[in-house]
C-alpha cells in the first residue's frame, strides 16, 4: 500500500513537472495576436460592438540620451495622438542605441522573421532595400496613396525597390563643417572659403594648441562622413551612381586622392589625438567644450548647440556652419553637398488588421506638415516632405538657418556611397579608414583593399 502510494507520488511529481514545462511555453503566445498569426481575430472584433479589445504595437526607436531629447519629444507626441485615435491601442516603446539597432538587433530580428511592428530603419542597399527584397518590409505605396501624401516626399530613393516604397525618411540632412566662432575670432581666423584657407585655419589652431577637427573614430562611419564628402569633391557628385555601376573604383586616382587628403590631415595632427578610442558623443563634447575649433558632421547636430544640458561652453550663436570648400583639381560641380534622406521608419511585413490600422495612423500623424515643421524648428532636422516657403521662413535657430542657406546655395546633393555597396564592402571602408588613421595603411593600399572586396562581392 505504502509502496503504491509512493509510486503514485513520484508519478504525480513527474507529471506536474512536465505540465509545468508545457504551460510555460504555451503561455507565450497568449497575450496578443502576434505578427501575422491571427488575421481572423483582428477582423472579427470590430463589427457593431463598442467593446474594444486592447492590443499593443511594438515600436523600436533610437532616440536615446540628451542629444536626442527633442526628437524623442516629437515621437512621444505622435505616439500619444495615435493611441488616442485608435481605441485599444497601446504602443510598446523600445529604445535601442542606433548602431546596436542597425547592425545587431534589427538584422537578427529580420533573420528570425520577428522584427517590431514599427522600427527605425536606414535606407540603402545594406538596410531597407535588402530587407524589402527579402519580403520583410511592409509595402507602403498603397497606404501613402490612401493618405494622399505619396508625392509630398522630397526623396524616397533610398527606401525604394523599383517603384515600390518600403520606408519613410523622418527628415533630411546635409553634412558640412561646424566651427567655433569664438575660437576663430580669438585666433584671428576668418571663415574659410577655400581648401587653402581651411588648411591654414587648421594649422593655426594646431599651433595654438587647439585641436583643429574634433573626431571620434571608434565607429568608422564617423570619419567616413568626411571621406565621403572628399570623394564627392575629388571624384565628382555622381559618385554614388558611378560606384554602383562599377565605373568608379575605390583604387582609382580620384578616390585615392580623397583618402590621401584624409591621410595628410591625420599626419598633420588635425584630428583629435587618440580618435580611434573616441565615440561620436565624445567627439561632440570635444567641440562643445571648445577643445576643438571645427567638427565635420551632419546638420542634425545643430540641435545639440541649443541643448543647455550639453552645451555649457558655447551656444548656437557661437557656431557657424559652412560647406566643405572646393578642392583644386576636383571634378564636377564643387558646390554640391552630401545630403541624405536616409533614416526613418520601416514597418514589418506581417501585420494583423489592428496593427495595420495602428501603422496607418502612425504614418498619418508622423508624416505631415505640422510634424515636419516641428522637426525643423525644434530638432533642426531638415524636412523630408515639401513645406511651404512660409513654413520654412519660421526658422529662427541661427545654425539651422545656415544649414538651410548651405543647402540653398549648393548645386545639389549627393548621397553616402554607403547606399550603393553591400554592407560587407562598407565595413571594409571603415576598417581601411581606421587603418589609415592608425598609420597601418596608405591611401592607395586602403583603396586597393576595398576594391578587392567590392570585386569579390560583385562576382557573387
Amino acid at each position: 500500500m505504502i509502496k503504491g502510494l509512493k509510486m503514485l507520488l513520484v508519478l504525480t511529481l513527474g507529471f506536474t513537472l512536465v505540465l509545468a514545462g508545457c504551460s510555460g511555453t504555451g503561455s507565450k503566445s497568449d497575450p496578443k495576436p502576434s505578427n501575422g498569426e491571427s488575421t481572423n481575430n483582428g477582423g472579427k472584433e470590430t463589427p457593431g460592438t463598442d467593446k474594444v479589445e486592447p492590443f499593443t504595437v511594438s515600436l523600436r526607436h533610437i532616440q536615446i540620451g540628451d542629444a536626442q531629447k527633442f526628437r524623442k519629444a516629437l515621437l512621444n507626441d505622435v505616439v500619444k495622438k495615435t493611441e488616442d485615435e485608435i481605441k485599444g491601442l497601446k504602443f510598446e516603446l523600445d529604445a535601442v542605441e542606433d548602431q546596436v539597432n542597425r547592425y545587431t538587433k534589427l538584422p537578427a530580428e529580420m533573420a528570425a522573421g520577428n522584427p517590431p511592428v514599427i522600427f527605425d530603419l536606414f535606407g540603402g542597399m545594406g538596410d531597407a532595400q535588402k530587407y524589402a527584397k527579402a519580403g520583410r518590409l511592409l509595402e507602403l505605396t498603397p497606404i501613402l496613396e490612401e493618405l494622399g501624401i505619396k508625392d509630398k516626399f522630397l526623396n524616397l530613393g533610398q527606401f525604394m525597390v523599383g517603384d515600390k516604397i518600403y520606408g519613410l525618411p523622418i527628415g533630411g540632412n546635409n553634412e558640412g563643417i561646424f566651427y567655433n566662432k569664438k575660437l576663430f575670432a580669438e585666433h584671428g581666423i576668418a571663415a574659410p572659403t577655400t581648401l587653402e584657407e581651411l588648411e591654414a585655419a587648421a594649422a593655426k589652431l594646431k599651433e595654438a594648441g587647439v585641436t583643429p577637427f574634433a573626431m571620434g573614430s571608434q565607429a568608422g562611419w564617423i570619419p567616413n562622413m568626411l571621406v565621403n564628402t572628399l570623394i564627392g569633391r575629388y571624384a565628382g557628385p555622381d559618385l554614388v551612381e558611378r560606384v554602383s555601376d562599377g565605373s568608379l573604383k575605390f583604387n582609382s586616382p580620384d578616390i585615392v586622392a580623397a583618402y590621401s587628403k584624409y591621410e595628410e590631415w591625420v599626419k598633420a595632427g588635425y584630428f583629435t589625438k587618440g580618435e580611434l578610442g573616441l565615440s561620436y558623443d565624445q567627439m561632440l563634447n570635444e567641440f562643445l567644450n571648445s577643445k576643438a575649433g571645427m567638427m565635420f558632421d551632419g546638420s542634425w547636430r545643430s540641435s545639440a548647440f541649443k541643448n543647455e544640458e550639453l552645451a555649457k561652453n558655447i551656444t548656437s550663436e557661437d557656431v557657424a556652419y559652412i560647406p566643405f570648400p572646393a578642392v583644386p583639381g576636383g571634378k564636377g560641380d564643387q558646390t554640391y553637398v552630401n545630403g541624405n534622406y536616409g533614416n526613418g521608419y520601416g514597418f514589418s511585413a506581417t501585420l494583423d488588421d489592428n496593427e495595420l490600422k495602428a501603422v496607418k495612423a502612425f504614418i498619418k500623424n508622423m508624416y505631415n506638415d505640422e510634424m515636419q515643421l516641428r522637426g525643423l524648428l525644434e530638432d533642426g532636422v531638415l524636412p523630408a516632405m515639401k513645406l511651404s516657403a512660409d513654413a520654412m521662413g519660421k526658422v529662427e535657430d541661427p545654425v539651422v538657418k545656415q544649414v538651410l542657406d548651405v543647402a540653398a546655395a549648393s548645386g545639389g546633393a549627393f548621397s553616402h556611397f554607403e547606399i550603393s555597396i553591400p554592407s560587407k564592402v562598407y565595413t571594409e571602408t571603415e576598417i581601411q579608414l581606421q587603418a589609415i588613421i592608425a598609420g597601418q595603411a596608405t591611401a592607395q593600399q586602403a583603396g586597393d583593399a576595398i576594391q578587392k572586396i567590392l570585386d569579390a562581392e560583385a562576382g557573387k
Binding site: 513527474g14 533573420a111 565607429a219 587618440g274 578610442g277
Partner: protein, 293 residues
C-alpha cells in the same frame, strides 16, 4: 520505494524532460549549424548548399587568422601570467592569519561584476586624460598613452582587464585546495628548517597540482571563448587589433548578414578549442597519480 527506483520507467520519467530540453536547445541547434555552415545563408533568403567553400574561405581569411592569433595571446597570457599570479596570491592569502575572509571576498568581487560594468570601469582607468594609469605614468614623465585607441596597447589593456576580472574566481578555487592541505605537513617542514618560499614551492604547489591543472584548462577554455570584454571595451578595434574569433564570428554573421559563413567560423572555433584542450589533456594535463597526503 526501492521497487519504484528499480523500475526503469521511473528513471525515464525524470530523465526524458531534461533530454528533450537538451535536444531542443543543444543538439538540434548544433545539427542545424552543421548544416548552415555548408550554405551561403544570409538570414533572409533560402540557404544554398555551397560545399566546403565557407571553410576554405575562412582558412584564408586574414581577419580570421588575425583573430586566431589574438586568441592565442589570450591563452598564453592566462597560462603563463595569470596562472602563476593566481597561485602566488592564493598562497599569500592562504598564509595570512588575520582578515583572510576580507582578502578572499575582495579578490572575488570582480568575478561577480558584470562584464559591461568592468568594461566601463576600466575604460575610465585607461582614459588617456583623466585615467589613473596615465596619471601615474605621468609622474615619471611618460607621455600620454592612448590605451584603447593605440593598436600597440589595446590588446594588452584588454588582457589585463580580463585577467583582473577572472583571477579572483580562480584564486578562491586554489585557496580552497591550499586550505585543505593538512597543517602537519607544513609544520613538519617548518621544523625541518624549510623557509616560507621553500614550503610554497616544495609542499603546497605539488599538493595542489590537480587543481592547477584544472584552472589551466579552464583558462584555456575561457580564453578560447572570450568575447564580451572585447565587445564592451573596443568592439574589436582599433583596426581589428583586438578582434577575437568569437567577436569576428558575431560580426560576420550578424552585422554582415553572413549566417552561413558565421556558422562555419563557429564550427572552426569549436574544432580549434577541442584540439587545444585535447592536446593539453594528453600532454601536461595528465594527473593520473592521486595526491596522497
Amino acid at each position: 520505494m526501492r521497487s519504484a527506483l528499480r523500475n526503469p520507467y521511473v528513471y525515464a520519467l525524470f530523465v526524458i524532460p531534461t533530454i528533450g530540453l537538451y535536444f531542443l536547445f543543444t543538439i538540434y541547434p548544433m545539427l542545424s549549424s552543421a548544416y548552415y555552415a555548408f550554405t551561403d545563408w544570409d538570414g533572409l533568403n533560402d540557404p544554398k548548399y555551397i560545399g566546403f567553400h565557407n571553410f576554405t574561405t575562412a582558412l584564408q581569411d586574414p581577419y580570421f587568422q588575425n583573430s586566431i592569433v589574438n586568441n592565442m595571446y589570450f591563452i598564453l597570457f592566462s597560462v603563463f601570467v595569470q596562472v602563476p599570479l593566481i597561485i602566488m596570491f592564493a598562497i599569500l592569502i592562504g598564509s595570512v592569519k588575520r582578515l583572510q575572509g576580507f582578502y578572499k571576498t575582495t579578490v572575488f568581487v570582480p568575478s561577480i561584476l558584470s562584464t559591461a560594468v568592468i568594461g566601463i570601469l576600466w575604460q575610465f582607468i585607461y582614459n588617456p586624460e583623466v585615467g589613473i594609469v596615465n596619471k601615474f605614468l605621468g609622474l615619471f614623465g611618460i607621455d600620454t598613452i592612448y590605451w584603447l585607441a593605440d593598436m600597440r596597447y589595446a590588446l594588452w589593456a584588454i588582457l589585463i582587464t580580463n585577467a583582473w576580472q577572472w583571477m579572483g574566481f580562480y584564486i578562491v578555487l586554489v585557496l580552497a585546495a591550499i586550505l585543505a592541505i593538512p597543517r602537519e605537513l607544513n609544520e613538519a617542514a617548518e621544523i625541518d628548517g624549510a623557509g616560507g618560499f621553500q614550503r610554497a614551492i616544495r609542499i603546497t604547489v605539488p599538493l595542489i597540482k590537480p587543481i592547477i591543472s584544472v584552472i589551466v584548462m579552464l583558462s584555456i577554455a575561457g580564453a578560447m571563448r572570450v568575447v564580451d570584454i572585447v565587445l564592451v571595451m573596443t568592439k574589436g578595434g582599433p583596426v581589428s587589433s583586438t578582434e577575437v574569433m568569437a567577436s569576428y564570428m558575431v560580426n560576420r554573421a550578424i552585422r554582415y548578414g553572413e549566417y552561413g559563413y558565421g556558422t562555419s567560423l563557429a564550427m572552426l572555433i569549436f574544432v580549434i578549442a577541442l584540439v587545444l584542450t585535447a592536446l593539453y589533456q594528453l600532454t601536461f594535463g595528465r594527473t593520473k597519480e592521486e595526491v596522497t597526503y
